[in-house]
């Protein structure tokens, strides 16, 4: 392993929250944009950040020649070499801890945890180490690290390879949690994550790696804590995260001919959370459904729903409804697995009921 070029200068330390360009995904960027998949957008963000900042490196299982099990990182090792795209043993806890130690001492590690289900192995490193070091040290040490991992079911991968466990990370002060839902967001949010001075957990939906969308060439960042209105509407608010954004958009399409205008809002980050936008939309529409692929019980839907129910209390015409993954381990059998996640149809049905059109 060789040494990184000595020109790492503190001027390259950017403040994580300044967006060099802020775009609502509603507007279609045309100049200098290309269609690409979400997976390609992730790769492009990484490549650009690695070119920009020699402190950025990737560590994880099968990330180099194999380019990960999902082939998201294909080609990076060819450009940056095995000293910056490091194949690790199957040691999730320790590679996360190595990331923390590296981040504390001047590097910008991007740790790759193949399946989000495996974060059970690293919660100590994430929650007791990464999340707390800045605070415990009274602000002296910091952990500018990104941990990329995945979520999402319906890949027929059964109970230990299908979970969406972002609620665990979202519960821990000191971590930031990002859930991109489009190629555009994925690139911009990942750049923000890498430049952030804090530990950021970045969840990618495995099923969405092939999702296509317009992505600008070159540099742009998307600030954390700014929800994106993926579709404007007036009758009901659908707050959806990650994989569920497409489901909500499809539901909105189904609702339109029924005369129900749905507004689809993507918080993009659960921590920090843009409570303002969520509440404002619910106040406007007077009805809301929160949709997320994590287990429903004690999950992300609970936080979002209770924030809306509180903040828009005097404006709501119906209770805020939650649609998470069914409270069961994810079954293998396709006929069962498909029942466990919200779909455009079940969201549509719920929206119709809430709007009194069932």
């Amino acid at each position: 392993m060789s040494t990184l070029s000595s020109q790492v200068s503190s001027s390259q330390v950017s403040s994580g929250h300044v967006a060099s360009s802020q775009t609502s995904s509603g507007q279609q960027a045309t100049q200098g944009t290309r269609e690409m998949t979400l997976g390609q957008a992730i790769r492009e963000a990484l490549a650009e950040e690695m070119r920009r900042d020699p402190r950025v490196f990737i560590i994880g299982e099968d990330v180099a020649e194999a380019g990960t099990a999902f082939k998201v990182l294909t080609g990076l090792v060819a450009e940056f070499g095995p000293t910056r795209v490091i194949d690790s043993p199957i040691s999730e806890a320790a590679i996360t801890g190595l990331g923390v130690g590296g981040a504390m001492t001047g590097m910008r590690p991007v740790v790759d945890i193949m399946f989000g289900d495996f974060i059970g192995l690293i919660m100590d490193q994430l929650a007791n180490q990464a999340a707390k070091i800045h605070y415990m040290s009274g602000g002296k040490l910091k952990v500018p690290m990104v941990l990329r991992t995945t979520l999402g079911a319906t890949r027929r991968s059964a109970a230990q390879h299908s979970q969406s466990l972002h609620a665990w990370a979202s519960h821990v002060p000191g971590l930031k949690v990002v859930l991109p839902s489009t190629p555009y967001d994925a690139k911009g949010l990942l750049k923000t994550a890498i430049r952030d001075e804090n530990p950021v957990v970045f969840f990618e939906d495995k099923m969405m790696y092939q999702l296509k969308g317009q992505v600008p060439e070159g540099d742009y960042t998307i600030p954390f804590g700014v929800a994106d209105i993926k579709r404007a509407g007036t009758d009901i608010t659908l707050v959806a995260t990650s994989s569920m954004v497409q489901v909500a958009l499809a539901a909105a399409d189904l609702l339109e001919p029924l005369g129900i205008s749905a507004e689809v809002i993507d918080p993009r980050t659960t921590v920090p959370l843009d409570t303002q936008t969520l509440i404002a939309s619910a106040k406007k529409t007077s009805r809301a459904i929160v949709i997320d692929e994590g287990y429903e019980q004690y999950g992300v839907t609970a936080e979002l729903a209770s924030i809306i129910a509180d903040g828009a209390f005097y404006y709501l015409d119906a209770p805020v409804k939650r649609m998470g993954a069914m409270n069961v381990p994810v079954p293998f059998s396709p006929v069962l697995e498909d029942l466990t996640v919200p779909t455009a149809q079940t969201v549509t049905d719920m929206a119709k009921t809430l709007c009194g059109k069932a």
């Binding site: 180099a64 194999a66 194949d87 059964a158 059998s333 029942l339």
Partner: protein, 341 residues
């Protein structure tokens, strides 16, 4: 695929030690049959995958058959095993039936787990199979706990914990081995070193000597040629005997190789291993060929017998797959069953 029992091409290997054939001819033939059953089962799985009849992926055990069968032949029915993502071989070797396994792989209600587990989670408690685990290293502590339990219950059962070389990266293995050694638990850790963790060669993921690791915890450790079922069987017999006598845990490194990709979808493998390497193992280190040759050399079997076995197994596999294809899916109401006992 040429019939794997075509032993004529088998190039004699120079082995340090010749492990004896089992005294019982029937057992030797059973070993042969079980290995062949695993081989043909996996061929069928691959076929179901490529013809888009199987949901998801599967990790084929082909090439490693001598490990599962050699180990399990040394076990009692009530001895426990824990298995891995690459677990079909362990499951069959411990006595599972092919029809219910295929049904599980297709997500059918007749499967071992009513279709809820799938390829990576088959459990068959009637045969002592505590289940496959899709978390690498995830069964190390479970197996050790089963051994603690049998010691407490005085049942004299032994537990075998199967795992791949990749599990050497998981800390919980060392935590568990430490306790097994401290408390002399009747557990045997069987490390199937097939040289790769997914797409990364073992040299890049494991420092030092594998066998030094369990030894450091005071655990009796042996290394065998995992392609030689007689070596695997002989070693396991000794280790099981020790464990039953209360002499504590053991660790068995089996050097082996997987013929196919990491999973059925891993077909372009040139970037991490060569065709020549694959060919060398298939040609000269095939466990079924090796046992077949030994049996014939020692006049314990004839090519005709192998042919009959192959026919029988092939029929069983085809019938099993057909059974599974025709079997009904679980009722949707089952989705909320079995969350709690």
């Amino acid at each position: 695929m040429p019939h794997p029992h075509t032993v004529s091409s088998h190039k004699k290997e120079h082995r340090k030690e010749q492990y004896p054939l089992p005294a019982d001819r029937e057992q030797a033939l059973l070993m042969y049959e079980l290995m062949l059953k695993i081989r043909l089962f996996e061929e069928q799985v691959n076929e179901l995958y490529t013809s888009a009849k199987m949901p998801g992926l599967a990790h084929l055990y082909s090439g490693q058959e001598a490990v599962a069968v050699g180990v399990c032949q040394a076990l009692r029915r009530d001895d426990y095993i824990t298995s891995t993502h690459r677990g079909h071989g362990h499951c069959l070797a411990k006595g599972a039936s092919v029809d219910r396994m295929f049904a599980e792989l297709l997500g059918k209600a007749a499967g071992y787990c009513r279709g809820k587990g799938g390829s990576m989670h088959i459990a068959d408690q009637e045969m002592g199979n505590l289940g496959a685990n899709a978390i690498v290293g995830g069964s190390a502590a479970l197996a050790t706990g089963a051994a603690l339990s049998s010691k407490m219950r005085g049942s004299n059962q032994v537990t075998v914990c199967f795992f791949g070389d990749g599990a050497l990266g998981q800390g919980v293995l060392y935590e568990a081995m430490n306790m097994a050694a401290l408390w002399k638990l009747p557990v045997i850790y069987v490390c199937e070193n097939n040289l790769y963790t997914e797409y990364t060669p073992i040299g890049e993921t494991a420092a030092g000597e594998i066998s030094a690791r369990p030894k450091a915890f005071g655990i009796h450790t042996e290394t065998v040629d995992g392609q030689d079922i007689l070596a695997v069987y002989g070693a396991t017999q000794r280790l099981v005997e020790r464990a039953r006598q209360g002499e504590g845990p053991a660790f068995l490194v089996c050097n082996t190789y997987r013929y196919y990709g990491h999973h059925v979808g891993d077909v372009q493998r040139a970037y991490y291993r060569s065709k020549e390497e694959e060919q060398e193992w298939r040609t000269n280190r095939d466990p079924i060929k090796l046992l077949g040759a030994r049996l014939i050399e020692n006049d314990r079997a004839t090519p005709a017998e192998f042919e009959r076995i192959a026919q029988r197994v092939q029929t069983e596999i085809e019938a099993g797959a057909q059974f599974a294809l025709n079997a009904p899916y679980p009722d949707p109401s089952e989705v909320t069953q079995h969350v709690y006992a």
